[in-house]
């Protein structure tokens, strides 16, 4: 993994020094879908900084723009207004091939596992290792990552013979194997039962705490809020609140019980 600051232009170094200390830094971000008459704004003046090593959970009603924000941070869409720095790199105005490069430093975890049915668990993970050109040890690296996620016995299984939770863990192994500094997850536990969902989140929590990864996770799942350092709430494209876990639990009465159950 190259240092995040290596891609930042030298002349902008001072300005950027604050941003490079954080994994993500967003200033005045507006985002629109569509053109002309159909142009529709979905994000309004987003300002957000994610320090390195933080686990941030993003909640909000359906259609509030959570996924859109995630895809922007993940360099899967280009921004037009405002500033968005990811791992020290300003994404605004970047060409397609530059965006592809930025993505290689980010681990994506989707609601669906999106594994190739034709590839074994190991091969699915190896596809990620090959991206950084590490062909020599890719098998060992993939096996080690799957082992960490408790799939040591399943490396040469195809997705069809894995359970839902196991498949999601393979997808997580694929997202994490290159040790990305930033992990973006969109409802990673939605398709999982309670226990598997819990396992998956615990694994991510360990990674953030032990290896200083930054995690931004969208979830509707109240059962896993307790892993967050911080919870942000997006409503109708605006950041409504940004608070620590304990504060969030106090102010959100109905969810209070759930959150505390996990702490107990």
């Amino acid at each position: 993994m190259k240092p995040a600051s290596s891609t930042a232009p030298v002349d902008a170094f001072l300005e950027e020094s604050a941003a490079t200390a954080s994994a993500v830094s967003i200033r005045g971000l507006d985002y629109f879908f569509g053109q002309g008459e159909l142009r529709k704004q979905v994000l309004y003046d987003i300002n957000l900084t994610l320090p390195k090593g933080q686990i941030v959970i993003m909640t909000g009603p359906s259609g509030s723009g959570k996924t859109t924000l995630l895809t922007l941070i993940g360099a899967l869409r280009s921004i037009h207004e405002g500033s968005l720095q990811v791992l020290g790199q300003e994404l605004r105005g970047l060409g397609n091939s530059k965006l592809v490069e930025v993505r290689r430093n980010i681990g994506f975890i989707f609601q669906a596992h999106n594994l190739f049915e034709s590839l074994t668990a190991s091969q699915n993970v190896e596809m990620a290792v090959e991206l950084v050109g590490n062909f020599k040890n890719k098998r060992q690296q993939a096996a080690a990552m799957l082992g960490q996620l408790g799939l040591g016995e399943r490396v040469s299984y195809k997705p069809a013979s894995l359970s839902g939770g196991q498949k999601q863990r393979v997808a997580i192994a694929r997202a994490l194997v290159n040790e990305p500094q930033l992990i973006l997850a969109d409802e990673p536990t939605a398709a999982l039962d309670k226990k598997s969902g819990r396992d998956v989140v615990t694994i991510m929590q360990h990674l953030a705490k032990n290896e200083g990864r930054t995690i931004l996770m969208v979830t509707h799942d109240n059962r896993i809020l307790d892993v967050a350092d911080r919870i942000i709430n997006l409503v109708d494209g605006r950041l409504e609140s940004d608070e620590t876990l304990s504060h969030f639990q106090e102010t959100h009465d109905p969810k209070k019980l759930d959150g505390q159950m996990f702490i107990l």
Binding site: Q111, M127, K136
Partner: protein, 382 residues
């Protein structure tokens, strides 16, 4: 360690789909081979009798279209070149149609007749080159009949007497030559008999001049020397050239070129559609995975290569069984038609069809790959 062979594994994953794809490509390849085979065989039947012509250089009037529709030219042209270095022998050949009466049904049909000087070894068929054969052909009103003549001409028994252009004619023997596309049957006779049947046509006007060269002489060299000597009222061909000339005539004036060309085109399109269908469904089913690869940081170019590799693999896997079955069907056709349709595999055709199969698959790959390349990585989050 090597890359994960995504294209191969994707193809192998759904075995039944793969089998359908291979069968589709193989079928298209087979159809193309059969069309080209029939075309080649038919074209060679138009001219394969030339193999039995004992000559290295052929002279023909520029007005002649092919062997059976020739315009006579002066025999003196032949004598003009008899002394050219390398020329061993010059031989006139006369030809025309007669009406041959089937002695059993009484129905007359047009029969193509060759007349030649019996001293000249114009034809290579063994029956007409034995002293006995020549002796029989010398008899008046006696002909040899082609065994490959259509059965409608009636029995070919030696000694049989029938009528030809209201003149009595006796079958003196048989040979195998074939009449190509133009003639349903052929006869051989001496130039003296030819003069009798086609009177008042004089023997000084010939239909074709056949030159036999000294062994080891380069026909192309002699041709140049002849060209310098002869006026423009004769065309000069080497053996390969006259075969080419006649088959080009048949290719252009009949619809066989068009029919089988169309057959090849249709097979090609069918193959392209089948492969497109397979690749497209494959891409559609894996769109989320492809989009995920893009989100991970793979470029569109990588996906492009994966799909094209799948296409090339399909081409190869379908081509081999297609070729093998075609070889079997070629042999079957030759046997079933007792050699009348000489379907022969040529190296050129093997390579040509392989190229066609690759083009077919790449083309469908190119059409379907756009879907994979436009896979939006942002969509997989939705």
């Amino acid at each position: 360690m090597k890359r994960v062979p995504l294209s191969v594994l994707n193809l192998l994953h759904d075995r039944s789909r793969l089998l359908v794809a291979i069968a589709g490509v193989a079928f298209a390849v087979l159809l193309i081979f059969m069309n080209l085979g029939f075309l080649g065989a038919l074209l060679s039947t138009t001219t394969n009798f030339y193999e039995q012509f004992n000559g290295d250089i052929f002279l023909m009037s520029p007005q002649s279209l092919e062997i059976s529709s020739t315009e006579p030219f002066p025999r003196t042209r032949l004598y003009q070149v008899a002394g050219v270095e390398g020329v061993q022998r010059v031989m006139p050949l006369y030809s025309d149609y007669v009406l041959w009466k089937n002695p059993e049904t009484g129905i007359s049909r047009a029969m193509f007749v060759y007349g030649y000087n019996l001293q000249d070894p114009v034809f290579l068929m063994p029956e007409v080159n034995t002293p006995e054969g020549i002796r029989i052909l010398q008899q008046p009103n006696t002909v040899f009949i082609d065994r490959l003549s259509r059965p409608e001409f009636g029995p070919q028994t030696t000694g049989l007497v029938t009528e030809s252009d209201r003149r009595q004619v006796t079958i003196g023997g048989q040979y195998s030559l074939g009449g190509g596309f133009a003639a349903d049957g052929t006869l051989l006779m001496s130039d003296q008999n030819f003069r009798r049947y086609f009177a008042p046509r004089p023997l000084t006007q010939i239909n074709m001049g056949i030159l036999l060269l000294e062994p080891g002489t380069n026909p192309q060299k002699v041709k140049e020397a002849l060209r310098a000597l002869l006026p423009a009222d004769v065309n000069i061909f080497t053996k390969a050239e006259i075969i080419e000339h006649d088959s080009t005539y048949w290719l252009q004036t009949t619809s066989i070129g068009f029919i089988f060309g169309l057959g090849v085109l249709v097979s090609f399109v069918v193959g392209t559609v089948i492969v497109y269908q397979i690749l497209y469904t494959d891409i559609r089913d894996h769109l989320r995975e492809y989009a995920t690869l893009k989100a991970m940081g793979y470029s569109s170019w990588f996906l492009f290569k994966v799909v094209l590799q799948e296409a090339a693999l399909l081409a190869g896997m379908g081509y081999v069984p297609g070729l093998i079955v075609s070889l079997g069907l070629y042999r079957l056709t030759v046997n079933a038609t007792e050699g009348a349709l000489p379907m022969q595999m040529t190296l050129f055709r093997v390579v040509l069809v392989l190229v066609l199969a690759l083009t077919m698959c790449s083309l469908s790959g190119l059409i379907s790959v756009r879907r994979a390349m436009t896979a939006d990585p942002a969509e997989v989050f939705a």
